[in-house]
């Protein structure tokens, strides 16, 4: 059976699933809107979590939390379930498809066969929508892909029960209750306030302070860790910032798009101006990526080069600090 489901490509999987499921239920919510209301924008250095043998850096909120906040703020209810038993997980999925209900699934990327090999790492917080089943083949709408695709039931079970950090455990979710009308205005204000709070938080690894902290680390890496590791870590930062799903510039462009869209909805022209500022900050992040890539391209980089990109990060941190203080004021 196939549910009549419209696939729209998005930059980021979680926002994309939210946006596509909302559109399916008749609410036109764009990807940036889902991202902004869910306060997806962040910067965080997570020293104790190692990803591919390097410390983790993230430019977004924890997996799953964007949808959680979005739902709470616009007043929809979501049903979520996790399973111990793959059989049970499959039964629940099939029931929903039979009831004409497309569902979101959390999956691991490593065994996702339609991804290019190079992109298949042990990352367990990918999201996609299942919108039908034909014999033993599931119809998949993966928001980062241009078109819909399919997975066999074996393949789907494998990715639903991937192991490691953030193991999905068959996580299935779908909206079950909608308000008469989405209260976007209040939700937008809440979303922005939360993002400002996160980015200006007095915690050394979070937000603006986290960016400064990272700059300090970069200065130390070549001496403390050796050039090889330093380059590996630097590459990790760039990958987290620019890899598929960020929309470019570590989600800064999506956030700018959200501010632009919001400025008309809540009638605050100031947000449109701030959107331009955020776009410029996104450009700075990309300049940083270009210069960082020059370092890890040549194995023999000068120490100066690390200091250089670190300084770039510090400039970005200063700009973002000013930006989020202004944004906080604008929304009052």
């Amino acid at each position: 059976m196939e549910i009549n489901f419209a696939h729209h490509q998005s930059a980021h999987c979680e926002n994309g699933v939210i946006s596509n499921l909302m559109k399916h239920h008749g609410y036109n919510v764009s990807e940036p809107m889902a991202f902004g209301i869910g306060s997806g924008l962040l910067f965080c250095y997570i020293p104790f979590l190692k990803v591919n043998h390097a410390p983790a850096f993230t430019y977004r909120a924890l997996p799953g939390i964007i949808f959680k906040r979005f739902a709470k703020r616009v007043g929809i209810k979501i049903k979520r379930e996790k399973f111990k038993n793959p059989q049970q997980a499959k039964i629940r999925l099939d029931e929903n498809l039979k009831n004409n209900n497309p569902v979101g699934l959390q999956v691991g990327v490593y065994n996702l066969v339609y991804f290019p090999d190079e992109y298949r790492f042990h990352f367990n917080a990918h999201n996609l929508v299942v919108y039908g089943k034909e014999d033993d083949t599931y119809l998949i709408s993966d928001p980062v892909m241009e078109t819909v695709t399919t997975l066999s039931d074996k393949q789907l079970e494998k990715v639903r029960f991937a192991k490691g950090a953030f193991a999905p455990k068959g996580h299935i979710y779908y909206p079950i209750h909608f308000p008469k009308e989405l209260d976007l205005e209040k939700a937008i204000v809440k979303g922005i306030k939360h993002t400002c709070k996160d980015m200006l938080a007095p915690i050394p690894v979070l937000g603006v302070k986290g960016i400064r902290h990272t700059a300090k680390l970069i200065r130390k890496w070549p001496k403390k860790k050796g050039v090889k590791k330093a380059n590996h870590y630097l590459g990790q930062i760039v990958r987290m910032q620019e890899e598929i799903g960020t929309g470019g510039g570590g989600f800064r462009y999506i956030f700018a798009a959200f501010l632009q869209e919001s400025s008309t909805i809540i009638n605050k022209p100031a947000l449109s101006e701030l959107s331009k500022e955020m776009t410029a900050i996104g450009d700075l992040w990309r300049d940083f990526a270009v210069d960082a890539s020059r370092i890890y391209k040549n194995r023999s980089a000068k120490e100066d080069a690390y200091n250089n990109v670190a300084t770039q990060l510090e400039v970005i941190a200063d700009k973002e600090e000013v930006f989020f203080k202004k944004l906080k004021k604008a929304i009052k």
Partner: protein, 136 residues
Amino acid sequence: MKKDEVPQDKSNLETANFKELCYAVDENGEYTTVNSSGWDPKTIALNKAIEDINERVEVAKKRVLSNQTSPIEYYMELHKMDLPILASYVGLWKWRVKRHFKPRVFNKLSNNILQKYAETFDISLEQLKNIELHGN
């Protein structure tokens, strides 16, 4: 980023024949989405990461052949895993998995435990015991 500045570099995305979505502003300063075929700075970062993994696999292979570690470590690296991920897949404590890296311990493992590793790596028991039987 302006619409016409969205990078269209060659990348690994080509093999799967898809383009990713980016956000950029058009001539009127309005946000829109543009497909990108890739961007060199991140392609280089990704290729470096893959090179690092291949290097780790090679080192592990040599260590297995010179009897310094067990094939489990080799297959772990081959599957881009680290200790916590592998332990989680086979459902054992990390220290136990680490112990199984010792050739002396590995050689005494029961078929029951070996089977767990073989299933995780999607290989036969023979391949698990002898990495040269593995095609890759």
